[in-house]
């Protein structure tokens, strides 16, 4: 049982960082940036490359995180600001196109093989009957700390207040002297950093290959939409729900239902859980879990 929860928790932490980043950016510029999941892959690959170039683990991770933040701002200035002037759905298509180009770059630079960070081997820990590697604990801790810092930033700082003001009513915020473009780009920078950290935590626990971003796309979106896109912190709850659903669907013995003693759904069905929840939610509560909707005819 505890194994089940630890699996779900680790998965939730992976999804939450990127989902929160996605949701935070959406709150400001009203389009879901698909390329964020690829920023996570850039973060992971860059950290691996920097490490093999001779940097220490911490330095490589930090440098990669900053670089991805800068890259996110660069793409925002060069592509998304311009596409958003047309329409938000055009910006969404543009972000899909950017994702494809990034995939191509990964393929050309890294090829289809999987890569790993060079990590010192640490003894696994036994906790309530579950084997956890030290790196799993580290990544979980790191995710929690980053999410907590982001929450503090959002709720306790001037930047956070400005960000919420822009999210609620951008023209009004601009009229009161908030530089909406600066606030937006700072948040884009932070979102790139969070995505990169998300990618690096995945690299700390296993291998990274070029399809990581594509595989993350729909679960991350499901988590963000479940929380209510634009409602950054509730994306964490969304991530937990999705992670639980994925873990339940692949770890439950469906034998009795199928008339057999033991029958598990193939692991490839795990993503179906998140998509199914996503579609059901979009059907019945399109604004997410926490928004009480104004009835419209």
């Amino acid at each position: 049982m505890f194994q089940f929860f630890s699996d779900a928790l680790l998965r939730a932490a992976d999804l939450a960082l990127i989902a929160v980043a996605l949701s935070a950016v959406y709150s400001l510029i009203r389009f879901p940036n698909v390329a964020l999941v690829q920023y996570a892959v850039v973060g992971a690959f860059l950290a691996i490359s920097l490490q093999s170039a001779g940097l220490g683990l911490v330095a490589a991770a930090a440098l990669s995180t900053l670089a991805v933040g800068a890259l996110a701002v660069l793409f925002n200035l060069a592509i998304f600001e311009r596409l958003l002037k047309v329409e938000s759905s055009i910006a969404l298509i543009g972000s899909l196109a950017l994702s494809m180009i990034l995939s191509a770059v990964f393929l050309l630079v890294y090829g289809p093989t999987a890569y790993r960070l060079q990590l010192p081997v640490l003894a696994p820990i036994r906790l309530m009957g579950v084997r956890l590697t030290t790196w799993q604990l580290w990544t979980l801790g790191l995710s929690v700390v980053v999410l907590a810092l982001f929450a503090l930033l959002l709720l306790r700082t001037r930047l956070g207040a400005e960000m919420r003001a822009v999210a609620t009513n951008a023209p009004l915020a601009a009229a009161t002297g908030i530089e909406t473009r600066r606030v937006t780009n700072i948040v884009v920078f932070l979102s790139g950093m969070m995505a990169a950290i998300g990618g690096i935590t995945l690299a700390l626990r296993g291998s990274v290959s070029i399809d990581m971003g594509t595989n993350l796309l729909l679960p991350v979106f499901a988590a963000a939409i479940l929380g209510g896109l634009g409602n950054a912190l509730s994306a964490i709850v969304g991530a937990i729900v999705i992670a639980l659903a994925e873990t339940v669907i692949t770890n439950t013995n469906l034998g009795p239902l199928m008339g057999e003693a033991v029958w598990f759904l193939p692991a490839s069905y795990a993503p179906v859980a998140s998509f199914a929840i996503l579609v059901l939610f979009l059907l019945f509560r399109p604004r997410g879990l926490f928004v009480s909707e104004v009835t419209r005819v």
């Binding site: 009480s292 104004v294 009835t295 005819v297």
Partner: protein, 255 residues
């Protein structure tokens, strides 16, 4: 205030709240055949909410609306329009990739069926008549979004009339419109009113109201506080108070 044969639109006990905030208390009024009724009130008094509910864009929490005896409350905008009531918007937004003429043609939803694809597209005579009546001839072939704010308002009224409504609901038809166009608007609206179109007009401009409306209903904080002729508005102390607070000299309201 009970509905008679003269009553075209019968609004009874309309209420609406957003969360804990009561926007409309208990609003009742009638629109008679051939009448132009002004709906007035300070900002936040609930005028737009009334218009949104009447036109089917917003659900009411309580109350009823009858159009010619037919209930239309919470029927959805397309059904309200089909029943004969059509609205315009305060800030009409017009398509970038359709011409003025196409937009006016598209105002007729009844013939826009799949079966229409079996025939080549022809514009109805009525389209050209409306375009001429609203002086939109010179811009008829331009993208609708390229018009000025005032022209867009004219266009939105022309498109609404294309639905051949019994009741036309206008949301601030002169706000932001050049004075020359405003006189134009009054002239055109009078003409269609003479042809039998009743109107419900949300407006701030007192000159426009006095020029056009036969009667006024004044809303304040979601309640009706007056129902009178436009000329007697400024004699009504509750109206003056609602607009300007107490201790206001008579005659200031019109300015």
């Amino acid at each position: 205030m009970s509905g008679t044969a003269e009553t075209l639109l019968e609004v009874r006990n309309l209420s609406r709240h957003f969360g804990a905030h009561q926007v409309l208390g208990d609003v009742s009024f009638d629109l008679r055949r051939g009448e132009i009724l002004g709906l007035l009130g300070p900002n936040g008094s609930g005028k737009s909410t009334v218009l949104n509910i009447v036109s089917g864009f917003l659900a009411a929490n309580g109350g009823s609306i009858g159009l010619n005896g037919r209930p239309i409350v919470n029927a959805g905008p397309e059904n309200v329009t089909a029943a004969g009531l059509v609205r315009t918007f305060q800030l009409p937004s017009m398509p970038r990739r359709m011409t003025v003429r196409e937009v006016v043609q598209a105002g007729d939803a009844t013939t826009a069926t799949l079966a229409s694809a079996t025939r080549p597209l022809r514009f109805d005579n009525e389209v050209d008549e409306l375009i001429a009546a609203f002086n939109l001839g010179p811009v008829a072939g331009l993208p609708a979004s390229s018009l000025s704010g005032g022209q867009k308002k004219l266009l939105s009224v022309a498109v609404a009339l294309r639905c051949r409504p019994r009741i036309l609901c206008l949301d601030e038809p002169t706000a932001g419109v050049h004075p020359n166009l405003r006189a134009e608007m009054v002239r055109i609206l009078r003409r269609y009113n003479a042809e039998g179109v009743a109107m419900l007009v949300v407006e701030h401009d007192m000159l426009f109201i006095r020029d056009l409306c036969h009667r006024c209903v004044v809303l304040d904080r979601g309640e009706i506080i007056a129902d009178c002729a436009p000329a007697s508005l400024e004699d009504n102390p509750r109206v003056v108070e609602a607009y300007l607070g107490k201790a206001v000299e008579k005659g200031k309201l019109a300015s």
